[in-house]
């Protein structure tokens, strides 16, 4: 029996066990929406802006290991989706985006709501397709899911012209597809893994540096086993938080631009770095020349060969699925009983513990003004460290990363690569739909939240009781901080002098609004909000407008040249002591 392209599409999504499609209808996709109306296999979530559809699908995927799916119409629908697609691309999130297109006879004629979506999205997708014949539709969708979820994951766009959704053919969904030019690696090279084990054995100051790839590759268990087995200090990148338990003693905090003092110093002075699904991003190591000034050996495990040795030279590159490679590495280490020298490790831990002492994340909370860090700390306590946390982009994002100790992977959802403001709220919706019984909190700022605040309406419609924590300082905080540091405190356009009444705004959308201005009210307010399981609560915390994120590594500087928080500025700090007894080789 022949069915329409639109029906085929709906059937394909059902075959892929899709649970939610996030989208927004329009002329070019009406056929598809009609097919969605007639089926019960998956639910459609109507967002209020296409960017939010993509972010919601993205966070749905990040928080659940399932694939995010979004559906947008042609032209403006498609271009609105681009920021979301780019966000997912930068963070390697598996996603399939179906965009409508004008009918094939109209393509290229500047038709109403026509845009070259394949061309527009090309730089920000893992791959994309334009389906010109309904006979190719099912296979293309199968390929899209295959490409999005295998190898280094990423978003795949399938552009479907309206006449293709109307044309009919027999539906056959291929069980599998093989693409001769696409064979992502899985197993790491055994010889290279042996070399890595050898480097670990020789290390005096080893350091395990874990990125988002370990989360995406579901390798948290292996990472944890490796760290504990070797008793080596571990740091996570912003994207890697949760890959190793944040509350564990061997975790020295996040590293990078706003990483802890101890994590950054350790990165700078380590002699052997085991990079796991991490790519030495500029926000992590800052300047590669400064970073490599110390004699270092680097092992890098990544599924994407192009991520290896892109910014730093790598001694032992291992291309493969991180989980798989780590399993093999752990097996070899166990088999050969390979461990770094205990004596050297103990000296290294002494050094790190000395760096830990000043507590670089310390801040002063008085009775008057709420410090943003204080809210994060209380949030951690009130939620017992169990909430799924999404964040927007800015100072609040960094405070969250610094103060919420993520013990599980996929618990921390933020736009690390692209740094997309407006990500937090739609991401919270997506995460809540994927985890209906979890506490989901969106940490945001007065700038970020206004970039997709219309999604309060979607939250109302689908009863997603997320808790919005707005660290309201009346500024674009991170911009203000940079203007203080680098632009002579000229607050060019970082001051937002027309903030809405967020409480009323939340109420206008049918939610609960709260404003909290006193430190003493922070914890009770959080408790009250999280007790309201069925309601979205918008908590507007009026926080110190001048608070800055410390430590900070300025662009181009070395990780050991941090701007330190005020309390450390006059402290006698322990330098790196090369003469500690690390053993002979250092």
């Amino acid at each position: 029996m022949e069915i329409s392209g639109a029906e085929i599409l709906a059937r394909c999504l059902a075959e892929e066990n899709v649970e939610f499609v996030f989208g927004y209808p329009g002329g070019a996709v009406l056929e598809i929406y009609d097919a969605i109306f007639k089926q019960n296999n998956f639910k459609h979530v109507l967002v209020r802006h296409e960017q939010a559809a993509i972010h919601a699908a993205d966070a749905y995927s990040r928080s659940s290991q399932k694939i995010g799916v979004a559906l947008v119409t042609s032209g403006p629908g498609a271009t609105n989706a681009i920021t979301g697609i780019a966000t997912a691309f930068m963070d390697s999130i598996p996603m399939v985006v179906i965009s409508g297109q004008v009918g094939t006879p109209m393509i290229g004629s500047d038709a109403f709501q026509e845009v070259d979506m394949v061309g527009c999205s090309r730089p920000v997708v893992k791959h994309n397709f334009l389906v010109k014949d309904v006979k190719d539709l099912a296979t293309t969708i199968k390929k899209a899911f295959h490409i999005a979820t295998t190898g280094r994951p990423g978003p795949v766009v399938v552009d479907v012209p309206k006449d293709v959704t109307q044309a009919k053919t027999v539906f056959e969904y291929p069980k599998s597809v093989s693409i001769r030019s696409y064979n992502p690696p899985v197993k790491g090279h055994p010889g290279q893994i042996k070399k890595a084990a050898q480097l670990i054995a020789e290390a005096k100051r080893p350091y395990i540096y874990v990125g988002g790839g370990a989360v995406l590759g579901n390798a948290a268990e292996e990472v944890t086993e490796l760290v504990r087995m070797l008793n080596v200090p571990c740091t996570n990148t912003l994207m890697g938080l949760g890959a190793y338990p944040g509350s564990d003693e061997k975790f020295v905090g996040m590293l990078g631009m706003h990483g802890t003092y101890e994590a950054n110093m350790a990165m700078q002075y380590a002699d052997t770095i085991i990079a796991i699904g991490a790519r030495f991003d500029d926000r992590v190591i800052s300047n590669p020349t400064q970073f490599l000034s110390q004699a270092k050996k680097i092992v890098q495990i990544d599924i994407d060969p192009s991520s290896i040795a892109k910014r730093v030279k790598v001694d032992v590159p291992i291309v493969g699925d991180v989980k798989d490679v780590l399993k093999d590495l752990i097996a070899i280490l166990k088999e050969t009983n390979t461990r770094p020298s205990e004596k050297a490790l103990s000296a290294w831990w002494d050094q790190i513990n000395d760096w830990r002492k000043p507590n670089s994340l310390w801040y002063a909370q008085d009775d008057e003004i709420i410090q943003p860090q204080f809210v994060m700390q209380k949030l951690y306590e009130v939620t017992g460290g169990n909430a799924i946390i999404t964040s927007d982009v800015g100072q609040h994002q960094m405070y969250t990363a610094q103060f919420y100790k993520f013990d599980r992977p996929r618990q921390w959802i933020n736009s690390g690569g692209l740094g997309t403001m407006g990500f937090g709220l739609p991401a919270a919706m997506g995460a809540q739909l994927a985890n209906p019984y979890a506490d989901v909190a969106c940490i945001t700022g007065d700038g970020s939240i206004q970039m997709n605040i219309q999604e309060l309406s979607t939250c109302k419609q689908y009863h997603t009781p997320v808790k919005i924590i707005n660290l309201n300082n009346g500024y674009l905080g991170m911009v203000r901080q940079w203007q203080e540091f680098f632009y002579g405190t000229r607050y060019s356009e970082s001051y937002v002098d027309a903030l809405p009444d967020f409480v009323k705004l939340a109420e206008a959308y049918g939610h609960v609004g709260m404003q909290i201005s006193k430190p003493a009210d922070v914890e009770p307010a959080l408790r009250e909000a999280f007790a309201m399981k069925e309601r979205l609560v918008f908590m507007d915390f009026l926080t110190n407008p001048k608070a800055n994120v410390f430590p900070m590594v300025q662009n181009g500087k070395g990780l050991n040249q941090m701007d330190l928080p005020p309390h450390m500025q006059n402290m006698q700090l322990t330098p790196f002591e090369n003469n500690r007894d690390y053993g002979n080789l250092c």
Partner: protein, 163 residues
Amino acid sequence: MRHILSVLIENEAGALSRVTGLFSARGYNIDSLTVQTTEDPTMSRMTIVTHGSEDVIEQITKQLNKLIEVVKVIDLNEADHIERELMLIKVRATGKDRDEMKRMADIFRGRIIDVTEKSYTIELTGPGEKLDAFIKALDQAVILETVRTGASGIGRGERILKL
């Protein structure tokens, strides 16, 4: 340093723009690019001449390999290879210059493929330097028009790029 990359790629609409888009988006250079289908009509072969440091070339190769449609990439520079370019050059050829122009074409093993009362069009193939040398050897005033393809390259002997 100049490198000549050979790329086997699925013969699909849009594949070429993915390759050129990759170069422009990442700030790499394309000095020349030729592409045509191979003996297997489902596959095209590109020859890309580019330049950059070893690190840059390594990244280009890795990034090309990452494209879904790219089947295989090799750097022809890594071993002996042959390169050819094609040039069609139209020159003024009148009076006694006509014989001179014919001799020049012969010396460079070119072929005159179009003749009018006033002009010759010469077809010339060879490495880029040879074509440059031909242009240089001519009186610049006689050159009416030139058109050149990019380089095509192939490994010497047993070195074969095939699926």
